[in-house]
Amino acid sequence: MNTKITEQEFGERIEACKEKMYRFAYCYVKNEQEALDIVSEATYKAFLAYKRMKNPEYFESWMGRIVINCALDHIRRNKKVTYLEDNQVEFAAKENAVSLEDKMDLYDALDQLDPEDRAIIILKIFEDQRFKDMAGVLSMPENTVKTKFYRIIEKLKKNLIRKEVDAL
């Protein structure tokens, strides 16, 4: 049975997930033109490779991985890496809030994360994906994804506490 997708199907599937691709790319660079450049490069690379895709039913996951790789390449090329440890920007902490998402604007916090870690926050917090699906996008075991996610959250929490203490 032939499970390969045709060029027309590729075009339809890309069209169906284009907004998700753009948001994903935008989170890495926070700039319209650069996000469009990443989407363009990801689409180009996917066009050249879609015939070799083993599981067309996971097209969105496959595309997500390509967008992440293109975003990381873009950042490496432009050397716009800023790490959490070096961050001088304080997160806005809210009183009486419980969850990290309530206490901290994770959309801004993304900029202070290692680029390799940003996808985990985007997929889990913004895209509401299950760890199992995230593992598919990130090409890593589910348990590794969980470990990384909780490690990043802990890192963000510690940073938030440090900022709150510093502010006293």
Binding site: E7, C27, E101, D105
Partner: protein, 283 residues
């Protein structure tokens, strides 16, 4: 507003679709370029073998009896040429056993031929023409013109996964020689057919082949998958199409090739070994 709300509210630019379309077009052009390169490499590698099995015409034969318009770029048996372009229209004209394939863009003849490849395959003797960057083509007229040449047995097109490319197959009668000439100012390609001097004895040829299918995308996908293995699409005696690789002298060689293909990760369409006479079409 939470981070997730800010994420959901990221404004989508109006030109996102346009950017995606352009990226796909860029991919299409790159694929075409790679196809031309790949086919040129393959054909160059087996050119020596083909030269032995086909009666090679000389340039004088290619040009004789034909009024020449424009300057000749090359005369070839197999290979590639032309310039990268897009949206070229294709028309054909014939004169005895000579076919001219003409190209125009916006109503004017182009100065050079678009990117093309010419392949020769045996069992049955076939010429496979591929043109890239062409969109408007009167296939019925082309088919009618080519069938009108007395040394041609059949003509059929191959579906390929590139809507700006076109491929057709000219099946030759037995012991027919040919030459392909590319011209510029204006750009056109001329196919000349003539009787070969040394008739070849028909013999059994072994192939790794797919099942027979109707013309369509499934067979095109399969052909593209095995393009690097020198695959080609052949019309069967019943008018269906198969993807075939080889032209092996023995069944063992074909079996070995099939074994190698079947261990690949992307092997999904069952293939099998078959044989037919070098001057016949498969079942």
């Amino acid at each position: 507003m939470t981070g997730k709300e800010r994420y959901d509210n990221i404004e989508i630019p109006a030109r996102l679709s346009e950017v995606i379309q352009q990226a796909q077009q860029r991919g299409r052009m790159e694929k075409r370029r790679r196809n031309v390169l790949r086919r040129s490499t393959l054909t160059a590698a087996c050119a020596a073998a083909i030269m032995i099995t086909v009666n090679v015409p000389n340039v004088a034969m290619a040009l004789s009896d034909v009024p020449v318009i424009g300057s000749i770029v090359k005369v070839l048996q197999i290979g590639s040429g032309g310039q990268r372009t897009d949206g070229v229209s294709v028309t054909t004209t014939t004169e005895e056993n000579t076919l001219s394939i003409n190209f125009s863009l916006n109503g004017e003849q182009t100065s050079s031929a678009p990117a093309y490849t010419v392949d020769y395959k045996a069992a049955p003797d076939r010429l496979i023409f591929s043109f890239y960057g062409v969109r408007n083509l009167d296939y019925m007229k082309l088919q009618e013109d080519i069938k009108g040449l007395s040394n041609v047995k059949d003509v059929y097109n191959n579906v390929i996964l590139d809507d700006s490319a076109f491929r057709f197959v000219v099946e030759l009668k037995e012991n027919i020689g040919y030459s392909v000439s590319e011209y510029q100012q204006p750009g056109y390609i001329q196919l000349k057919l003539f009787g070969a001097k040394k008739p070849e004895q028909a013999h059994d040829v072994y192939y790794v082949r797919s099942q027979a299918m109707e013309q369509g995308e499934s067979i095109a996908v399969l052909d593209e998958q095995y393009a690097a293995d020198d695959s080609s699409v052949i019309k069967t005696k019943q008018g269906k199409f198969i993807v075939a690789m080889g032209g092996f002298k023995t069944r063992e060689e074909a079996e070995q090739h099939l074994q190698k293909l079947s261990t690949r990760e992307d092997y999904f369409e069952p293939l099998h070994v078959d044989h037919w006479m070098s001057n016949a079409s498969p079942e």
